[in-house]
């Protein structure tokens, strides 16, 4: 019952829940997205614990990786002043995200 393995599971689950709550209570959009990516990585850990390595790989690549990168890109887009591309190129720092 109280084997260390189970404690590890409880720890993972608690982190998952706290992370998901933090995503939506966080005022900064950028931090929310970072927390979301962290959630994706911790979920991969849960997949490994549940004997699903194939899902862990896909989740890390797609769930955390692709979705996370797309979200970050969108945050950057929503923060940009939306100057046209032609003007963008002349700015030193076109699309970088400024945390």
């Amino acid at each position: 019952m109280n084997s260390p393995v189970l404690w590890l599971d409880i720890l993972v689950v608690v982190i998952l829940i706290l992370l998901s709550i933090r995503i939506f209570s966080e005022a900064s959009l950028f931090k929310s997205v970072v927390l979301f990516i962290a959630l994706g990585l911790f979920v991969s850990f849960a997949w490994v614990k549940l004997a699903a390595p194939d899902i862990a790989l896909t989740e890390a690549a797609l769930g955390a990786g692709v979705t996370g990168a797309l979200l970050l890109d969108t945050v950057g887009h929503l923060r940009s002043r939306n100057v046209p591309y032609s003007k963008h190129r002349h700015a030193e720092d076109g699309t970088s995200s400024n945390a």
Partner: protein, 238 residues
Amino acid sequence: MPNNIERPRRAQHIVAVGLLVAVFVLLARAVLYIPMHDTGVASSIQDNLQISGVLNPVTAVLLNFRGYDTLLEIAVLVLAIIGVLSLQREGMLASGRLAPFADPALSLLTRILVPMMILIAGYLLWAGEKAPGGAFQAGSILGAAGVLVTLSGHVRPGWLSPAIVKIIIAVGFVVFLVAAIIPMFFDKNLLEYPLHLAKPLIILIETWLTFSIGMILVTMFISSAAPITDDYVRGDAT
């Protein structure tokens, strides 16, 4: 930070949280009543693994037993990218707003990383038959390599013509669809691969899918909605 988002009013907020806690109680009750003995088709999958053409049970389900789900799932992916493209203004395909970083460190990193990524993608594709891995993992790594190459300025965003980009996007789905209907010419049903053809067909599908998925991911990144012509300087967007 966008600060035009008002926090929801306190009372409404409490009601919403209360409702969600009630939903949680109902869901928790439902999941705790799940019978703990095996009710699924696990044994049936193991029994038929030999004739599925692959050794990994998950891959067997995905590409053979329930290959139809996967076919429609690829359709969803292709559809999503068509949707993304339909949201752009004219002629934006593969020539998006992504401004390359002229950063020497990134450039060097790209030179080292990209060949490795391609190798890893190839390995994952090859290993998918018996171990975790397959077209999606390989495709996403290939996609990441593509984004890196574009970001670092090694490749101009528009170096592939839109027509070729579109063909690469669609090719995985079309090859899958063709492979799915081939059995119909031999008096079999859709996706009913003959035993000796199952393995080569699955490898063929996975290989083309890898390229398509990679290209779809790259396109998702580099084709953002084009900014409109006048400056939108908004107070909340800094």
